[in-house]
């Protein structure tokens, strides 16, 4: 699915300029004159990013950001700010926006930021997919195996694990082999990394 750049700006001239720029650079674009129209349209988790004006009548950019997060939508947001809105932009970034651009901005810089935001979206999406996969594999481990994996990931040696769990070192070693295999880890470092990306529960 090709990513979409969602443009939300109340200024008609700037909005159509953004659309033309993005389209001529080959992006799929959807544009909205205010936050409400955008939120009504954007109900699913489509890949893409959002170019969002901070100061708009009706819902402000920050309110739109909050509403998106409230719906669990994680599309990266690039805020467009006037030069008086820096404090607002800082708050937006603290709230998770990937970037902010102070108007006016050159077409090249804007495209560069949009590409980066889309790359972030791409990355976030594959990361999310990966976590889902890891979590699924983790669920397939037995209770004892999960316990061995937790202790291995936290840096304990087989001997220590055997003592803690009250089983033989040989048995611990056997569990470790199963865990490595089921989780798809080829070495200890990989296993530690996978353990950090397991969603709890």
């Amino acid at each position: 699915m090709t990513p979409t750049v969602f443009v939300v700006d109340d200024d008609e001239a700037l909005r159509s300029a953004l659309v033309q720029l993005l389209e001529s650079a080959g992006f799929a674009v959807a544009s909205y004159a205010d936050g409400l129209a955008f939120l009504e349209d954007c109900v699913d988790d489509r890949p893409g990013c959002v170019l969002l004006d901070v100061a708009m009548p009706g819902l402000s950019g920050l309110e739109v950001q909050e509403a998106l997060r409230g719906r669990g939508l994680r599309a990266p947001i690039v805020f467009l700010t006037g030069h008086g809105d820096i404090p607002m932009a800082v708050r937006a970034v603290q709230a998770g926006a990937v970037d902010f651009l102070e108007k006016p901005v050159t077409g090249a810089a804007l495209l560069e930021r949009v590409r980066r935001a889309l790359a972030i979206d791409q990355e976030q999406r594959s990361e999310r997919a990966l976590r889902q996969e890891i979590t699924a594999r983790h669920r397939r481990l037995s209770a004892r195996e999960r316990e061995v994996m937790r202790l291995v990931a936290s840096g304990s040696s087989s001997k220590e694990i055997a003592r803690v769990l009250g089983i033989s070192v040989r048995t611990v070693e056997a569990h470790r082999v199963h865990v490595m295999h089921k989780m798809g880890a080829s070495n200890l470092a990989e296993l530690v990394s996978l353990a950090g990306r397991c969603d709890p529960g």
């Binding site: 700037l14 720029l21 467009l80 008086g84 108007k103 006016p104 077409g107 804007l110």
Partner: protein, 507 residues
């Protein structure tokens, strides 16, 4: 001299005719003065008709009696002294008081002489009338003096300068107020034209022109000129001059009444400067608020320009560029540049420093400009700005920057009044029209309105209903409008505040 009632007596012969020719006798009988003839004892032997009339006694009651019977006792000694003198020769003229038959006293002047034959002749003239006249003259002089004192007191008490000149422009009167203003006394200048030296040389022409207009027939002429005080300082005097002409229509005096307006003009200058300064400060403050707004407004077209330029570059980067599309993009860029220019023009017109001179102005255009300036703010506040402008409004006289400032204030107030409402929104309606021969601008909003208590306090300095704000807006607005000859007032109305202001037409 002869009285009608004396007429019958004229024919009557005196009882004891003197010797001599009849015509002389008649002459004496008809003489206007009284003629008395007495013996050396003072006993009357003859008297003419006028004598009887003066004494107020019939002839028969006079003849045979003596002078002493008719004069007060205290004069008897004087009479004897005079008689002594007369006996030595010569004559005497003296005033006496005669007791008439009815008891009244009458003053007479008597010229006495004793003839060689021993007859004592007295010519008596009634001087009652003369004394009355003399007293009238004295009283008149006294009255004149009193009136002159009275007029002097008025002239010298008046704070008004009063200057009287004769037809040769010589000083006749220079009242106390004139003395105070110049530090010179009337005695130093009276009778001369040296008072001209009080006027600065460059203003003499103006004074001459004013006088010429008076002589040309205007009943009074007003003009303003300076007078130099003895200490060198200048005072500004507003004169109102008039001429006094004699019965022949010739100019006899020029009267000038003047008011020292130095302090008044200075105070007016200061208050105007103060208002200008207050207005400038307020414009700066408003400009500060506008600056943020305008920076945003300016950023929009600039951002659009940069973005269109980027789009154009993208188009040209293609192997076969879509040139019509590039041209359209350039067209967009130029539109947005003009849009940015308009924003800057608005701001510059608004904060433009310099003495704002009143002149003819198109009120509708100023209203449109102010609304144009605030349209983006209204839009981002969700407020709709509506105009209802009079179709043919004659030009008004005023300072457009001030009027725009007042409008921005009223409009900002209106927009902010409605932001207090839950949900925002609302409408601001600006109308122009005419009332009582003046142009009328009305700004009404759909906010909470103005109750009587608020209306009464609306123009107090630092009174504000806004959460933030200095509250200096409306009092200055009103001063600005009044300085231009208009009026600004709120209407007690709720919901929806209504403010009106007027400005005079140019004609």
């Amino acid at each position: 001299m002869s009285e009608p009632r004396a007429q019958p007596r004229r024919d009557r012969r005196p009882p004891k005719a003197a010797s001599g020719d009849a015509s002389l006798r008649e002459l004496i009988e008809n003489a206007p003065d009284g003629v008395f003839i007495a013996d050396l004892e003072g006993r009357y032997v003859d008297v003419n008709a006028a004598g009887c009339r003066i004494f107020g006694h019939p002839r028969e009651r006079i003849i045979g009696r003596t002078i002493m019977d008719f004069i007060p006792p205290e004069d008897v000694a004087r009479l004897f002294a005079i008689r002594e003198g007369l006996l030595r020769g010569g004559d005497n003229v003296a005033e006496w008081t005669i007791r008439r038959e009815d008891g009244t006293l009458t003053p007479v002047e008597v010229s006495d002489t004793i003839l060689s034959d021993g007859r004592w002749v007295g010519f008596v003239r009634d001087i009652g009338r003369r004394q009355e006249l003399e007293q009238d003259v004295l009283r008149g002089a006294e009255q004149l003096r009193a009136e002159r004192n009275f007029v002097d007191a008025i002239l010298d008490t008046a704070a008004t300068l009063i200057l009287v000149l004769d037809r040769e422009a010589r000083l006749v009167r220079f009242n106390k107020a004139c003395e105070t203003v110049t530090g010179l006394s009337q005695t130093e200048l009276i009778g001369s034209t040296r008072w001209f030296d009080l006027i600065p040389a460059e203003e003499l022409d103006g004074v001459e022109r004013a006088t010429a207009r008076l002589r040309g027939g205007e009943s009074f002429v007003e003009h303003v000129n300076h007078w130099r005080h003895r200490d060198g300082s200048l005072r500004l005097i507003r004169w109102r001059n008039t001429l006094i002409k004699d019965a022949q229509g010739e100019v006899s005096f020029l009267i000038g009444t003047g008011i020292d307006i130095t302090d008044q003009v200075r105070a007016e200058d200061e208050s105007r400067l103060h208002l200008e300064e207050a207005s400038r400060l307020q414009r700066l403050q408003t400009a500060n608020e506008l600056a943020t707004m305008l920076a945003h407004q300016l950023n929009q077209p600039l951002a659009a320009i940069a973005t269109y330029a980027g789009a154009g570059q993208q188009l040209l980067a293609h192997a076969a560029p879509d040139l019509p599309k590039v041209a359209a993009t350039l067209e967009r860029i130029s539109e947005q540049a003009l849009r940015a220019g308009a924003v800057i023009r608005h701001l510059r017109a608004f904060v433009g420093r310099g003495r704002a001179e009143p002149g003819p102005m198109d009120l509708n255009a100023v209203v449109q400009e102010a609304c144009g300036l605030l349209a983006p703010q209204a839009r981002s506040s969700g407020v709709s700005l509506a105009l209802d402008l009079a179709a043919s409004l004659p030009p008004v006289r005023g300072v457009d920057v001030y009027v725009e400032q007042v409008l921005l204030n009223l409009l900002t107030n209106a927009i902010e009044a409605m932001q207090g409402d839950a949900g925002g929104g609302g409408t601001v309606l600006v109308t122009t029209g005419e009332i009582e021969g003046k142009a009328l601008v009305t700004v009404r909003d759909s906010g909470p309105g103005i109750d009587a208590a608020t209306a009464a306090r609306l123009f107090e300095p630092f009174f504000t209903r806004k959460a933030h704000g200095l509250g200096v807006g409306l009092p200055i607005c009103r001063s600005l409008i009044e300085a231009q000859g208009g009026r600004l007032w709120p209407e007690v109305h709720a919901p929806g505040a209504i403010l009106h202001f007027t400005l005079p037409f140019t004609s």
